[in-house]
């Protein structure tokens, strides 16, 4: 082996060894910074899949879903999930204007999620409602809600009602969850521009 061949071999061996030894330091330098900071929010059906969500429901029957949050904000977050209910005519949260619904929350769930962690709870609910009959036509004119049992807590729905939707043929109610996040600067919760919900057909 002549000197030139030794030179090449030595260069390759040195370079490979240097790369190996420097890899722990390079590992820290060559990590792309996180550029997107967001929170995921999801609802899953009773089998913990995105299917078979309850839709046609009856009064006082129990239904199960799962509600979850994934934190990708870069640090631990303090959330509040506001549980709300509305009929077809009441205001929902607005995806375009990024505003929350003006309806009062029925319940607030306080949640803490560490960065890159998820949080999920099973939700068992049942609606208690009654029908109003139209005496002239002998038809059902509206659904009057009494309450919704939400994980064992009775949330008052007196004053809530749903009228017949002739386009979709049913009495519809929308149970939805708004995500709010604690803002250190404000010292209060602010709407995190995320909401998720389910429409229900209040069957007889």
């Amino acid at each position: 082996m002549n000197l030139q061949e030794y030179k090449t071999l030595l260069f390759v061996v040195t370079a490979v060894l240097a790369l190996l030894v420097s890899s722990p330091a390079l590992q820290r330098l060559l990590v792309y910074p996180q550029t997107e900071f967001f929170t995921e929010m999801w609802l899953l059906g009773p089998e913990h899949k995105a299917e078979n969500f309850p839709f046609n429901i009856t009064s006082n029957s129990n239904y199960n879903i799962f509600l979850g949050i994934g934190n990708h904000l870069g640090s631990c977050a303090y959330y509040s999930i506001q549980v709300k209910f509305r009929n077809q005519t009441q205001p929902a949260a607005d995806s375009f204007n990024r505003t929350a619904s003006s309806l009062p929350p029925l319940y607030g769930i306080t949640v803490f999620v560490a960065d890159k962690e998820t949080w999920e709870i099973p939700i068992a609910f049942s609606f208690a409602y009654a029908y109003d009959e139209d005496p002239f036509n002998a038809t059902l004119s509206q659904v009057k809600f009494n309450n919704v049992m939400f994980n064992g807590v009775a949330l008052d729905l007196s004053g809530y009602s749903a009228t017949w939707d002739s386009e979709r043929n049913g009495f519809f109610g929308n149970l939805f969850f708004e995500l709010w996040i604690y803002n250190d600067t404000l010292g209060d919760f602010q709407y995190h521009e995320r909401y998720i919900g389910l429409w229900f057909n209040m069957a007889v």
Binding site: L10, F11, A18, V21, L26, T110, V113, A114
Partner: protein, 166 residues
């Protein structure tokens, strides 16, 4: 006769006081008590959350603390709901129940933060400083071997030219 009459109300009062002492009357929480307890619970939770976040930034594993915070948060939610439905007793109870579990959270978070900072410094020293020094050592060793080989070849070359001359 007069003495007899005056004894009856005194005996009744004594009996009443005894009854009060034996059977404590339920204490109904006022709206203000419940509101104060909720406000206090919120502040405690917020302080714990801030300590937890600092620990997380330092690189600590905060899973257990977050679990405790969620338990306290759940009780706070129930307290707020009870308060909204004018059940101030339940609101007070839930708000007070949320506090004990949070007692050691700040100390725990600070301890985790200290450990995480120490581990991070150690990790930096080994993996970054050690790695950079190691890389320089490998490069210098490469050069040293190269100079050694070069000198060896040059000496061998000189010897061979001298012997051929001889």
């Amino acid at each position: 006769m007069r003495i007899q009459r005056s004894k009856t109300p005194i005996a009744l009062i004594v009996l009443l006081l005894l009854l009060v002492a034996m059977f404590p009357l339920p204490v109904w929480a006022s709206q203000a008590d419940a509101a104060n307890a909720i406000s206090s619970a919120k502040n405690t939770i917020l302080n714990c959350y801030n300590a937890t976040r600092e620990a997380e930034t330092a690189g600590a594993n905060i899973t257990v603390i977050v679990g405790t915070l969620n338990e306290a948060g759940s009780l706070l939610s129930q307290a707020e709901f009870a308060y909204a439905t004018n059940d101030f007793d339940a609101a007070l109870t839930f708000a007070l129940q949320s506090q004990p579990s949070l007692n050691n959270i700040i100390q725990e978070a600070n301890a985790l933060k200290g450990t995480a900072t120490q581990l991070r410094n150690q990790d930096f020293l080994v993996n970054v400083v050690g790695s950079v020094i190691g890389t320089f050592a490998v490069i210098i060793a490469g050069f040293a071997v190269w100079f050694f080989l070069k000198r060896k070849y040059e000496t061998a070359g000189a010897h061979s030219s001298e012997s051929s001359r001889v």
